[in-house]
Symmetry: C3
Subunit: 353 residues, 3 copies
């Protein structure tokens, strides 16, 4: 999920460089040793694991056709990606091309795509989280920032929490550092869809078209983001994020912060229908290594607040191969129950191909 | 399903051109907006979506080894191909290599393959239908021509209606425009197989070897086809098709017609054991665009007749990328019930890679 | 399963040859006609069928990153690999990357990998069996040598009998013909795991870390192997194998023998808790062909002994394409019941790409 909109935009350029090879097979594999309180030493992932094909085709007049198909998988067991690792409901196996599957056109007015992919909000927000949006429990994206919110809540079990199927995606060109991203999905009832009481029986279609909007701004060392998303059960998120590269004061240091507010008033009872979360973080590049640090908390209304502190280190053995180490402590301060504390350690390797 | 026998034959030639690359990754992605009476605006496919590998290997003495493995998928949701879109029983997810999976030898006496693929009849007949055999409801192949007939009726739910597993395929060379194609399948009981009452319990093996024979003939602007197929429950189809390219009278215009007769007397009661269908169509190439038109009807014995009228337009943005628009009306004239009428509109893009 | 440790080690070298292509798509397809007593003529495989990607990346200082992802499939029906063909419990569909999925580092001290793959014992032992460890009933690996033993017994149904998930693999360099291989797996409970009464409910974690150790030795025409493995339910195997290439006496002839002892005393009642098996075999290369011959028997304690005699012939049409013929007779001499005898014939083709 490190892939930013910029990367998406650069894809066409990269592929155009080998015009004779309109198709590229790519992917990554990430595995490590994981030790969590209360569990034996496990072997698992830090990043999503992907195997995909992507490519471009020249259409003339500065227009290109683009496509991307991406399998998500679990290399420790060889299965397709499962939902279990994200700590949210739906632990079934995900679709074959769980990562993304879309075709689009790119021209002077931006990129328009049709198919399945990350929603505009989910894709944009990862750049303002110190673990690059990785699904590891040491990161803040999955279990702190968007905890409790699902972009496609009516999908089949395991149908991924941050993606929209049956959608149209638009990404504007950058105007003076400003970029606009919009996703709108059809209301069609997803195959094998989940029930979301009290309003949505299993297989129901969305009561309104899901959409996701985000805008990003870059100006020298500064970057910012504003986003809003409404999913198929009319839950809403509002989010703001910012980062500053203070490399002139401290070489290699970048600071970031983000805030999110969720509104589930369409389906949840009053007193339990909202949530908010915030994260502060830093990435400090030092030679081939980068130090990661973050602190954040989520406060679902009527439920215990969760706080998390994480430290990490990434070391690049080459442009494609990286070692990493994460240490994280999460504490749920339950008002009525005893506070629970979980420590998490991971040491592993991520190889891109 | 545009792939014709000719294309299969040309594959070896194409691959031989890069002798250092005996393996080719290929595919296509097709998505569009679909509006049907009685349903919200959906996003879906017009063509099958494929991702595959294929290749050849030189064996000397003019003999080549060939193979092909083809994943079928649904790009709107990222899943493997499902059976639902074809309007026939069995909506389960299809096999991973649903499209085809075979290995074969090609020499002066033709091509012999072993594995899974389109039956000789199904593969040949698509060239005589104005929508090239595409599975879209605007086309005539799936829901008019072969409606109610399944090449592999004893397969698992969703195991594809037009393919034979556990089969041997033969394609003769062309003699003066004449080509012979034959498919014979083993009687083995398919894994997870369906019950077909009253004679076939779930997992039963075929009562006779399924086979499929077709012969095609080409002579200048004329082309014709004769085919017969018997599936694993001894249902039979007989089909004839013809096309004429009258580009000398009307530049770019090609007319076509096909007729099919089904016989289900082995499993269905008298009065409900046969069906017939016919389709008239035209493809009119004009520059980068092609206009498609067709009219057809199916008449299952003892059941309401269905008539369909379709118009379509395909526009090639490049050799690989095509935009399309379809408009179709289907009417089922139920004798006892009220006639039902469904309009279908689709606008989308198909990119081959 | 022909892949030996040597082949694994050579992979890096092979890929390094095209430094611009760090990723290689590869695979094989194997299909033939199979006739067994008591069954109709079937179409099926002799070898495993694979489609994978693999590659290397230079890290400097003589270190390389390696990875491999391998789909297992059934080309007769197009599905993912199923467990049924191995005659052991668990006939479900296997993981998508059933063959292997791992990432590793290779340097002067050997290769260390993390992920899923063949256990050290299973990988090493195949070189001492006359059918190269192929899963065909004509071979001896699956149904004679390791019959009744599963490397990952707590895995989901169909999760492959000879592989370890969540494991770390080490392969030493060769010292004077000696090589050491070790696999250690995490105790974590596998998703969808099986129950193994009386001690392991479904989804239980291993009571001890599974491990597998093997050592191989090569000295001119001689090769040998010693191995021990303990799986997740603390069943153990001990195995010894040897081969000698007597090409100087009989050109092209290689003889081999292997013996295995299984100990299931942790889960099975006394009198039924052990098994042993042995196989004698020969491979006789003659020009483009190789004659295979083998005889072996398995003797599970308290159960009928099974004996098997097999003859086979492999003929290479090219470096990548092979025809084969197998004939085999297996006889189970049940003490109380009548002896059962099954003849097996197969004729097919295996194409690597």
């Amino acid at each position: 999920m490190k892939k930013t909109l910029l990367a998406t935009a650069l894809l066409a350029t990269a592929c155009a460089a080998h015009a004779q090879a309109p198709l590229m097979v790519y992917g990554n594999i990430d595995l490590g040793l994981i030790k969590r309180d209360g569990a034996a030493l496990n072997i698992g992932k830090r990043d999503h694991n992907r195997l995909g094909v992507k490519g471009t085709g020249e259409l003339g007049a500065g227009i290109k056709a683009l496509f991307q198909l991406e399998i998500g998988y679990e290399p420790d067991t060889g299965t397709r990606a499962t939902g279990a690792n994200e700590g949210r409901p739906g632990s079934g196996q995900r679709p074959l091309f769980q990562g993304q599957s879309w075709v689009g056109l790119k021209g002077g007015l931006g990129v328009v795509r049709i198919g399945r992919g990350l929603s505009a909000f989910q894709e944009t927000s990862m750049a303002f989280e110190p673990w690059h949006g990785l699904p590891t429990p040491a990161g803040f994206q999955t279990d702190i920032m968007v905890a409790g919110f699902t972009s496609g809540p009516l999908g089949a079990p395991g149908s991924s929490a941050d993606r929209l199927s049956d959608a149209v995606f638009y990404h504007s060109p950058e105007w003076n550092g400003l970029q606009l991203n919009a996703t709108v999905a059809a209301r069609e009832s997803p195959p094998g869809g989940l029930a979301v009481p009290p309003l949505y029986p299993s297989g129901a279609q969305a009561s309104a078209n899901p959409f996701s909007l985000s805008t990003t701004y870059k100006n020298g060392p500064l970057a910012g983001m504003l986003a809003v998303e409404r999913n198929g059960v009319e839950s809403e998120v509002y989010s703001i994020g910012a980062s500053i590269d203070i490399t002139r004061m401290v070489p290699g240091l970048k600071l970031m912060a983000s805030y999110i507010r969720q509104d589930h008033s369409h389906t949840a009872p009053p007193g339990f229908d909202s949530a908010r979360a915030w994260v502060l973080g830093a990435n400090w590049a030092m030679g081939a290594g980068t130090l990661l640090a973050g602190y954040g908390q989520k406060s679902p209304e009527g439920v215990a607040r969760t706080r998390q502190l994480s430290l990490g280190y990434e070391y690049s053995l080459s442009r494609r191969t990286q070692l990493y180490f994460d240490a994280s402590r999460r504490r749920a301060a339950a008002p009525a129950a005893a506070a629970t504390r979980v420590n998490h350690f991971a040491l592993g390797v991520n190889h891109a191909f």
